[in-house]
């Protein structure tokens, strides 16, 4: 082949590269056989502790992933295909994403969904960007949002040179009066972002907060938990203009943080402002139903520096994962999963809250997370860890944030409460 190309050696192929840029010595280990790689990766994996029981969420949630979800998404074609720009040979991927978009709209009550962005935090940042324009730029976030979301939105706003402000929380929920006061002084307020349930697990008074945002001429963005939507009022019914969220609970494992799934859905009048890919339905010349990436004129490959977002990739395989998960569970199964999260969390909150030193920190109803006090977070968590339990997330302001899902059994919760009683007796 070298001959066919007119070269004597590989060196000829790289003749253009200046000597200064050539690597003459690579300080890397030798390559390994597959068996050696397998052992090496297993060895690294074994240095991580897989807790048998997990009571921690705080943005990454353990739910039961049905076997069908894993096996179906392992399909090699679906896993190795490229972005479906060639519609004629990508109808499968396109239809899969179209079905995902439909399901997200069903969950959120919205009119249009995109084909996903990188994660819930990026979805919030992109939603804030959607609300900018016509003299409106300031982004308002509830302080009870997930800290990573707040940080990410701040970074995106630094990039775009727009101001971002956090609205304080009171007793674990957004302070409506503070929101009112802050928005009243700011004719440039573009949007208010609320997490529901919020970072502390508390159910916020979304309708009222949304009304405050709208009276100030700002858009209302809700960040929602997709499992909770099996039980809770949709963001559309709460008056939101845009619904975003972290889709990881829909069939993706915690995976030390990724890949996850940022979903974005909105009312029809905002559809053309959605960033990223969108699949649309059309027909071919023969009248056959066809799916195609549409509204591409919004995107970077066409608008270039005028694009509203630079996003190119989505989390496509994660979209399919979510769609399979939602199809396996169906409406009844999702409601069941949500209901069990809610019931078990309330059961746990009563049991834990009854232990001295572990009283609930905030009032108000919650979905599947709740914060309690804690006599000594380090000792508590260490003791639980010895018992193969990953306890609640230690909050910066003190206390622990517990999460209970359908995966936690009654026996596990009772055992947890028992261990906490011991902790309380020892260190209170």
């Amino acid at each position: 082949m070298l001959e066919a190309v007119g070269c004597r050696s590989f060196e000829d192929l790289f003749a253009q590269i200046p000597e200064q840029a050539r690597i003459r010595k690579l300080d890397l280990p030798d390559g390994l056989s597959e068996l050696e790689v397998c052992r090496r990766m297993e060895s690294l994996a074994s240095e991580n502790k897989v807790f048998r029981t997990v009571f921690r969420g705080a943005g990454a949630y353990r739910h039961y992933i049905p076997a069908a979800v894993k096996r179906i998404t392992e399909n090699e074609t679906l896993a190795t295909a490229y972005t479906p720009y060639q519609a004629e040979i990508s109808q499968g991927i396109l239809q899969g994403i179209f079905e995902y978009q439909t399901m997200i709209c069903e969950l959120t009550g919205m009119d249009a969904s995109n084909a996903s962005v990188y994660d819930g935090a990026c979805a919030a940042a992109e939603a804030a960007a959607m609300c900018r324009g016509r003299g409106r730029r300031t982004v308002y976030l509830s302080a009870a949002a997930h800290p990573d979301v707040i940080e990410t939105v701040k970074t995106y706003c630094f990039a775009a040179d727009v101001p971002v402000k956090t609205v304080p929380a009171k007793d674990g929920a957004t302070d409506a009066e503070a929101l009112q006061a802050m928005l009243a002084e700011d004719p440039e307020a573009a949007c208010f972002y609320l997490r529901q349930p919020n970072f502390y697990g508390i159910l916020e008074n979304a309708d009222a907060l949304g009304r405050i945002a709208h009276s100030a001429g700002a858009k209302f963005v809700m960040g929602v938990n997709p499992i909770s939507l099996g039980l809770l009022k949709t963001p559309a019914d709460c008056g939101a203009d845009i619904a975003v969220g972290e889709g990881q609970p829909l069939g993706m494992p915690p995976g030390f943080g990724g890949p996850y799934l940022g979903f974005m859905a909105c009312k029809s009048e905002l559809m053309r402002r959605l960033p990223g890919r969108i699949v649309g339905e059309t027909a071919d010349a023969g009248g056959r139903r066809a799916f195609v990436l549409t509204l591409q004129a919004r995107e970077q490959h066409i608008r270039r520096e005028k694009a509203s977002s630079n996003i190119c990739s989505n989390e496509s395989l994660c979209c399919l994962t979510a769609a399979v998960y939602l199809s396996v569970l169906g409406p009844e199964g999702l409601k069941q999963a949500a209901s069990q999260c809610y019931s078990k969390a309330h059961y746990a909150a009563e049991k834990i809250g009854a232990v001295k030193g572990f009283e609930r920190k905030f009032g108000g109803d919650f979905f599947h997370e709740f914060a309690t006090a804690c006599p000594d977070a380090e000792k508590t968590l260490s003791y639980l860890s010895e018992n193969d339990i990953l306890g609640g997330y230690p909050l910066p302001g003190g206390g622990l944030l517990w999460c209970v899902t359908e995966l936690n059994t009654r026996a596990e919760i009772d055992r947890l409460a028992g261990l906490l009683k011991e902790v309380s007796a020892r260190w209170n």
Binding site: R134, A297, I302, R303
Partner: protein, 128 residues
């Protein structure tokens, strides 16, 4: 090439219909709509927005491209053509009837061409 003589034109392929009383309609020429291909969406300004001659005030999307539309005149946007929201193809079908915006307080920019001058400009382009 269809070039109504009662309109003025720009080198960036917009037309202006002066309506008297400081008002005008603005649209895209037949040449422009042919070049753009099937138009799928028009991003129009809002009523009350200001117009500056030579600056973009709108853009037009086809499937694979976006094109800026430059204002031929100064003034204020008085009315936008709502029909184009649902039927952007009207620009392709009837370029001189499908006005994008109506403006008031109109001040002509210096570079407006007559139909003959625009025709010559197009011929020069093709010859080049």
């Amino acid at each position: 090439m269809n070039l109504p003589t009662d309109l003025k034109y720009t080198r960036s392929h917009e037309w202006v219909r002066l309506l008297g009383g400081g008002k005008a309609e603005i649209g895209l020429t037949d040449f422009a709509q042919k070049e753009l291909g099937d138009i799928v969406f028009v991003n129009l300004p809002q009523e009350g927005d200001g117009l500056v001659p030579g600056e973009t005030f709108a853009d037009v999307e086809s499937v694979k491209a976006v094109s800026d539309i430059f204002s031929p005149i100064g003034g204020t946007v008085e009315e936008i053509n709502e029909e184009l929201a649902d039927e952007p193809e009207k620009i392709n079908q009837d370029p001189y009837g499908a006005w994008l915006i109506r403006a008031s307080g109109v001040k002509e920019g210096e570079t407006l061409l007559s139909a003959e001058e625009y025709r010559a400009f197009l011929a020069g382009k093709e010859g080049a």
